[in-house]
Subunit: 458 residues, 4 copies
Amino acid sequence: MTKGVKIVTIGGGSSYTPELMEGFIKRYDELPIREIWLVDIEAGKEKLEIVGAMAQRMWDASPYDVKIHLTLDRKEALKDADFVTTQFRVGLLNARVKDERIPFYYGMLGQETNGAGGMFKAFRTIPIILEIVEDMKKLCPDAWLVNFTNPSGMVTEAIIRYGKWDRVMGLCNVPVMATMTEPKALGVEKDDLIYKFAGLNHFHWHKVADTKGHDITYKVIDAMFDKDAGLPKNIYDIPFYREQLEQMGMIPCGYHRYYYREEEMLNHGLEEYNTVGTRAQQVKETEAELFELYKDPNLDHKPEQLQKRGGAYYSDAACETIAAIYGNKNTQIVVSTKNDGAVPDLPADCVVEVTAYVGAQGARNVAFGELPTAEKGWLQVMKAMELLTIEAAVTGDYGTALQAFTINPLIRSGETAKKIMDELFIAHKKHLPQFAETIARLEAEGVTVQDEIAKNLD
Amino acid sequence: MTKGVKIVTIGGGSSYTPELMEGFIKRYDELPIREIWLVDIEAGKEKLEIVGAMAQRMWDASPYDVKIHLTLDRKEALKDADFVTTQFRVGLLNARVKDERIPFYYGMLGQETNGAGGMFKAFRTIPIILEIVEDMKKLCPDAWLVNFTNPSGMVTEAIIRYGKWDRVMGLCNVPVMATMTEPKALGVEKDDLIYKFAGLNHFHWHKVADTKGHDITYKVIDAMFDKDAGLPKNIYDIPFYREQLEQMGMIPCGYHRYYYREEEMLNHGLEEYNTVGTRAQQVKETEAELFELYKDPNLDHKPEQLQKRGGAYYSDAACETIAAIYGNKNTQIVVSTKNDGAVPDLPADCVVEVTAYVGAQGARNVAFGELPTAEKGWLQVMKAMELLTIEAAVTGDYGTALQAFTINPLIRSGETAKKIMDELFIAHKKHLPQFAETIARLEAEGVTVQDEIAKNLD
Amino acid sequence: MTKGVKIVTIGGGSSYTPELMEGFIKRYDELPIREIWLVDIEAGKEKLEIVGAMAQRMWDASPYDVKIHLTLDRKEALKDADFVTTQFRVGLLNARVKDERIPFYYGMLGQETNGAGGMFKAFRTIPIILEIVEDMKKLCPDAWLVNFTNPSGMVTEAIIRYGKWDRVMGLCNVPVMATMTEPKALGVEKDDLIYKFAGLNHFHWHKVADTKGHDITYKVIDAMFDKDAGLPKNIYDIPFYREQLEQMGMIPCGYHRYYYREEEMLNHGLEEYNTVGTRAQQVKETEAELFELYKDPNLDHKPEQLQKRGGAYYSDAACETIAAIYGNKNTQIVVSTKNDGAVPDLPADCVVEVTAYVGAQGARNVAFGELPTAEKGWLQVMKAMELLTIEAAVTGDYGTALQAFTINPLIRSGETAKKIMDELFIAHKKHLPQFAETIARLEAEGVTVQDEIAKNLD
Amino acid sequence: MTKGVKIVTIGGGSSYTPELMEGFIKRYDELPIREIWLVDIEAGKEKLEIVGAMAQRMWDASPYDVKIHLTLDRKEALKDADFVTTQFRVGLLNARVKDERIPFYYGMLGQETNGAGGMFKAFRTIPIILEIVEDMKKLCPDAWLVNFTNPSGMVTEAIIRYGKWDRVMGLCNVPVMATMTEPKALGVEKDDLIYKFAGLNHFHWHKVADTKGHDITYKVIDAMFDKDAGLPKNIYDIPFYREQLEQMGMIPCGYHRYYYREEEMLNHGLEEYNTVGTRAQQVKETEAELFELYKDPNLDHKPEQLQKRGGAYYSDAACETIAAIYGNKNTQIVVSTKNDGAVPDLPADCVVEVTAYVGAQGARNVAFGELPTAEKGWLQVMKAMELLTIEAAVTGDYGTALQAFTINPLIRSGETAKKIMDELFIAHKKHLPQFAETIARLEAEGVTVQDEIAKNLD
């Protein structure tokens, strides 16, 4: 019998891989890795080789003997894997640029995981993740799938609902950030606070208690409105309305700004669109710099610059999750997972993002209890939007996509919304085979992408 | 023991009263009325007298001996009433003008029952209706309350939830319109179609079947996209998206345009705001004309012009409902009523608008069964918005009002929304005693109404 | 195109058929029947011929020209049927004798629709009804199935859940009886009372209101404890406990005696078992007499004696239901039907028995609202028992059958219950092909029927 | 500010107290106790003094300086308590003897926490625990209440539902036993197994997984049917039916024998009743022996004989729970606690018994997910029985008590059940002030206790 753990990373050529390696090296004692397979597609081959060499150097500089395998053959890699992590991006950053620029062209929000962009990312990603799951059923039926491909919640829901695969956990770094910054703002240690999160990916709230068991969420709210406390810096830093937070008695996540301060977030995005370029365009530059660094044959540790890429702690969360499963550690982690009642306002069989104790059986979700009226309503409409998006991603049905668009709180329904949707279908044609019929019709109707930059990306 | 039925109409000075009278006269044989009390407030005294005289003339021209009583003393009127109808408008049409113009000033939808305006109408109306209910508990505990004051669903919910009064039914003319126009469009008789409605007031869907029991909803959808069929003319006539209707397999109500074609409905409203004036301003003119007509001592029947006032069949629906309760007729009527499971996607104890068989016990709701994913999500978020609005109306809590505003799908959250909300508080100061503290704070902060017309209404 | 309605009655040789004919003759004006097909199996051929001739005589004596067809070929009969009624009894009355005597032999309740007997009736009946539904899908996909084969609720649930056939309604005469006897007991007319039923077949409660809409259930409770009122005579007449009825504020159905007065009902059954024979044995005699009567070539109307057979009004309810569907009459009938939320304490997709307005679309269930704590608990456990029984009937799984037995409130779990179950498997071997494996095992273990009479029935 | 933890034990004169002391001494390092107050009532004064002296000796023999206070004044003790444990028994063991013997006299199960006896224990206990909670609100509003007075689940539910006190946890030793014996039976260590429990107190099931995350519940089932494995010895050792366990895929708790093998458990109880005496009578002897031991001024540690008293590990579980809360340890403990969705088949606001991670905020319940059909039905009916019992305990309503009795699966409804209930009211008259009216009526009707032993206990 082979010894040690086999890790497979789909989308292995990602700039995040060094953080993942660092996380594994740091935890080698509790997670004895035998081999790591980085998988990518033909289009990502060059990056895969650069980052793969870098990854091997990192391990070589460590006390451990771990071999990095690079491959374009997913099936070869998956054979007998223990853990599979997914961090791929269908259509690469250029697809994200389109997700952002096409809505902004029409004055609506273009964003990676929210609004129209997030929905098209789901349309592209879900068919691929379902293929991966089918491979896993054959090649590594005992493996765990640790997903951090966005939109992480919808991807996880698709895996469980349509892929019928339960050994999966969706990760996100947003809750990690909160539990790191808030103690500092309150001037206490992380272990002085007790956290309970509930909601959906990029749409959750949390409560904080002290070690006497008393709810001190209001103190965090105080800190959020105290400039010196410096809370929270993720996403564009428009403040929430204090009365709203006090009414709910919970802390929203950073992405809630898109919903609670829709106007300002849109305006900020439009300003970037019209000046420095959207977030994906900025990230592309950062990534180029990162890959230049990674090429340096002397670099054998994660460079500082990766931090500013965004998504810090994402990979670390993945490593921690894997170590918790492997070692049955019962570590508190916030994960996307089957609800099972933890959020009683949503069906027991859908995916939620909640505090869980993670061990060999996966996530043991902490039951949060019923949410207040407003948050319950938000969750229910967002879950409907997610389910419709996933259904459209699987069936390729135009009407279902339109229903999803219409119910999305960040999309103003009507002619412009439909134009945006139609252009996005055209723009992502290559990655949306399930919508082939729709796209043919739209082409026949003469729909074309209007934003010049988006139009001219591969 | 007295014989015959005593009807009390709160807001009796309304221009709708003649339609109500017509409805009662038409149904005298099954609903033998003894006396009718029209109640209004000091500010409406003149209108009350005009319409009261007109009403008496209508009865005098009928074969029936019914006495119209006019009073400003609600308690005097309510004593031993059998049925109480409510059609009052707190702040009269001027308040509605403010509800419409203040949001439009900032580029958002101003509308009587949807968006910001509908919420403030609830804030003004709910405290008054709860006072009426308290009076009824003492003065006519066996009476039925037939409400058609808007927002009719929220008002009904407030009556049941906070007023703890179950003998109430909320009415709306929208479903009546559908069941009158659709058979014509299909070239069949009304009795050839079987209807089932479910949802919330101004936010319901329906299905249609033929007398073989087969669903023919798709035929109505066909007719909606067939210009010659002439369906539906209520509200500004922007078409729904056909793919969306086919996906849901149901017919939305006219007000769904605000949600499914948000952009166009907003633009249309803004255009009216900037040109002919908002709907309330138009209605004011119609009303003035109507009252001129009503003054004519020779007029003893409902004039044709009332039809164009909007809200046709509203009063007729009320008369039909009263007759159905009185005669235990089991008439099919679409009403706002306690859910009791008819819409299983919403709590059993909230108010919904559904097809019911109305008789002596009130509404016997037809169980609709679970709705499709999108409609379920819509209902749940709208019910959350309603519950928050009602809670804010009762408690006067600013944070709760802000939460309601934020979750309302027709309000883009952020600074402008908050400005609109704050100005509306100032504009309606006289009618919002429960928010006195908030309004004092806003006044201290210097908030004032920006729209010149709204500002200068009493 | 053919004119008039085609009725098919499976189990047409039943002694009930004359009541069915009477019901159709009475309603011919609203339900113009063209032809009636009576279907039975080889073993029932003689009865079919007797009752078939009798049925034809009844029509011949009527003003209407309707042809009775007799056949053993179900498929021939089903072709183009408009309505199919099912009143068959797998294994005939001998099977019922076994269902009754085998439990009684061991001191437990033996009854047609409750306890062990009712479960085995479900095991025998459900596979056959699912075959009929498959035939209907091919031969008369537009037909309605009106079932009054017991256990009527479970059979209806199986048809919808496993047969995926929605055009079905389950009938029972128990609610009919209540609405006929209670008005008499109160000294009022039927139309003076408003009824609302909810629950499961043979396990429902109802509330009564007067035509002022006031609940007067307590008056019916009074009448039940007033000897002269003579309420209710169905089933062995042991009184309910008054305090219990007052606590629930509802009237249980007669079968609730098995659950609320378990001890007395068991003792009564045991006494009959030990003396006059069980109910089925009594019914066999009645039936023999009936068939003797039916042979009389001069008899052309339903004989009085049929009344005492039990199940009076059963067939009449079926005729009324068929007429209501055919004529889209919106008649109030209590039926077993898909819940759709009418009983919010049970899943929306299971079958319940409730007041419905029956028309062309089938049942439009009246939403009953949440039940009190005790009745909610009873319903939930009984539905679990039903679902397990149906699942066992379909899968033939022994463990599932055992779980159903164990949760059944009328079965005391343990060794004796298991013995009863095992003997019933042996006794009904011929009609339980799905349990062939289990039965073979039990035979190998030497299980045999102990009750001498049950053992010696074919 | 005072340092160290103040513990108050209501029912401090219990024979369990030495185990509690041992548990605290063992955990002194993590739970630094300052003082312990043992509270009892006048009738228990002698025992309190014996066990109090013994407790002080135990601490004196330890390295720690902890003072034991004895008092009959509950309020004095509760002042500023940190933790309150409740292990009192209203009416002492004599009341339990009555709970057991009166039902057995009539051939029904008499048992401490199940059936009629358990319900009357709830009737006696709940009013007292609610008084304690009222005291705590005033005297130690920050304290945690750790209850192990039976019926522990119902007592906890009453505290939360009617006492409106959330800082409570109900404990039971049954799950502890399972997690101690099953690993041994499988030949593995406790840490090799992952447990997940869900259900109600004395009515829960569990699943077991290995540290690969694979469900191995079936292996435990195997072990249960392997004589040598020696599983499980608690309660009278009648085996479950293997097919039933395999169908559910879960392990029932020992008390499920009362429901799954009702016949055998009843017969066993009747045999004891007729020979050696009921369990309470046996326990009385054990207790007498224990108190003799406790009197020994040289005894300063928990004697071996306490083990056979039953309820082993109960007090240890309490100490562990207190330490986990105090130290925010996130220890896995199975507790009775507010559901919050962990068992989605029951309302989110009721009390369930589930695996939880216990820390400063109390229980963080692990969401179990939906249960299979049979177990769902069982839970729902048992929760209905619990809620009715608690309601009757609070309101003193006879009809509600009768409904609770009727729905209890271990009580055969009817005349005998009513006799048992009525006699229990008479027998416990002194401790059921809320039922004074009922008891007066029963006395007037001449109801007396039939069992000679029960009748003659004070």
